[in-house]
């Protein structure tokens, strides 16, 4: 099909689709008048039943926990897909990975490097805080995991790679991702064994507005935070030809 013919077909299709879409959206209730009872019931029963003040966190990890489990595994699978696409070809790659001679610090100016180095610790603490307080205030595993990823990524931006002492960094990130993904599923199994239903909240609920409350929700937040941090660092590391996570020349 020639380009012009394709554009004509697309034009006709999109006009029809747009008219159907506008007509369909016109049938929705007015903005602000949503009369759904399920959501209101979940919101009003989050605090009395689970003693956790953020009803969004309770909905994510307790009332609709299976949806979150599935979304988490979509993330895991996408990370595995990126690794399968980019890492397997590295052995047969005609384009070499970045040679050692270009291993200057990523940020070239000294002032920028100092600023980035000063930001690493506050961002790390912020990430941990948001992960742990997910059941009390807006936040949780997903948001905190991305912040933790950016804290470690700042280390790469200020230097040449992320070093984790005696640990092998790539293996550490993969382990973190695995612990996160498996941890969520296994805590659900704990609910099945102890309380009779998968992902049932089986730990004691505690008092509202305290850090240890909401049953298994803080643990699930930590699992999701670890997984999101590991998955995003692995993905960005693959794009950077694995130079992001190195340990003195070996991976």
């Amino acid at each position: 099909m020639s380009y012009r013919l394709r554009m004509v077909v697309f034009g006709a299709g999109v006009l029809g689709f747009a008219s159907l879409l506008i007509w369909g959206l016109g049938g929705l209730p007015d903005f602000g008048d949503f009369a759904g009872r399920y959501g209101q019931y979940l919101a009003h029963s989050a605090l009395p039943e689970r003693h956790a003040t953020s009803s969004i966190a309770v909905t994510t990890f307790d009332f609709r926990g299976v949806d979150t489990l599935i979304e988490e595994f979509i993330l895991f699978t996408a990370a595995v897909g990126v690794v399968a696409l980019l890492r397997v070809h590295r052995e047969t790659e005609e384009v070499p990975a970045e040679p050692e001679t270009t291993r200057w610090p990523t940020a070239q100016s000294g002032a920028l490097r100092s600023l980035i180095t000063a930001l690493v610790a506050p961002v790390l603490v912020l990430g941990i805080d948001i992960v742990l307080h997910g059941h009390l205030t807006p936040g949780g595993g997903f948001q905190g995991g991305v912040i933790l990823m950016s804290a470690l990524f700042l280390v790469y931006l200020a230097g040449t790679h992320i070093g984790l002492g005696p640990l092998r960094p790539m293996a550490a990130m993969e382990t973190a991702e695995g612990i996160g993904a498996a941890g969520f599923a296994l805590i659900g199994l704990g609910g099945l064994i102890i309380a009779g239903a998968y992902l049932e909240n089986f730990l004691p609920f505690g008092a509202p507005n305290h850090l240890v409350s909401g049953g298994a929700i803080p643990l699930l937040n930590i699992a999701v935070g670890l997984e999101v941090m590991g998955a995003l660092l692995i993905v960005i590391g693959e794009f950077l030809d694995q130079r992001l996570l190195m340990q003195k020349g070996k991976l």
Binding site: F31, F34, T53, I56, E71, I74, Q143, V146
Partner: protein, 114 residues
């Protein structure tokens, strides 16, 4: 005026679709796909909104206040992070396509050979 959120969601979907169809660069195409995804977030949150409502976090409000729907917020917040990783997967596919065909123009990529 109360149709404006739905109109914006429909507009984002259609402009993203137009960007995908008329794109000359695979990376540009993937980013237009993320615009289409964001239209669904706008639609979900517009559906769940309640006039005069506030966020359903009970840390500092009393129990009987008008709150917006928490379910659509749950769906959207997990979706935002997961779709970022799916975009990364699509970008990895783009890198491999460039490696295979030498070009990023979708019109010039040949058919898949067995």
């Amino acid at each position: 005026m109360s149709f404006l959120p739905y109109a914006v969601a429909a507009w984002l979907f259609l402009i993203g679709l137009y960007g995908i169809v008329t794109s000359r660069n695979l990376v540009h195409l993937v980013v237009c796909l993320s615009v289409v995804q964001s239209s669904t977030y706008v639609l979900l949150l517009a559906v769940g909104y309640r006039s005069g409502g506030t966020a359903p976090i009970y840390a500092d409000i009393s129990h009987s206040e008008n709150v917006v729907d928490p379910i659509v917020a749950t769906l959207t917040l997990t979706d935002v992070v997961v779709e970022a990783t799916v975009v990364a997967l699509l970008l990895a596919l783009t890198v491999q396509a460039h490696r295979r065909f030498g070009t990023l123009d979708p019109n010039e990529m040949g058919a898949l050979r067995g």
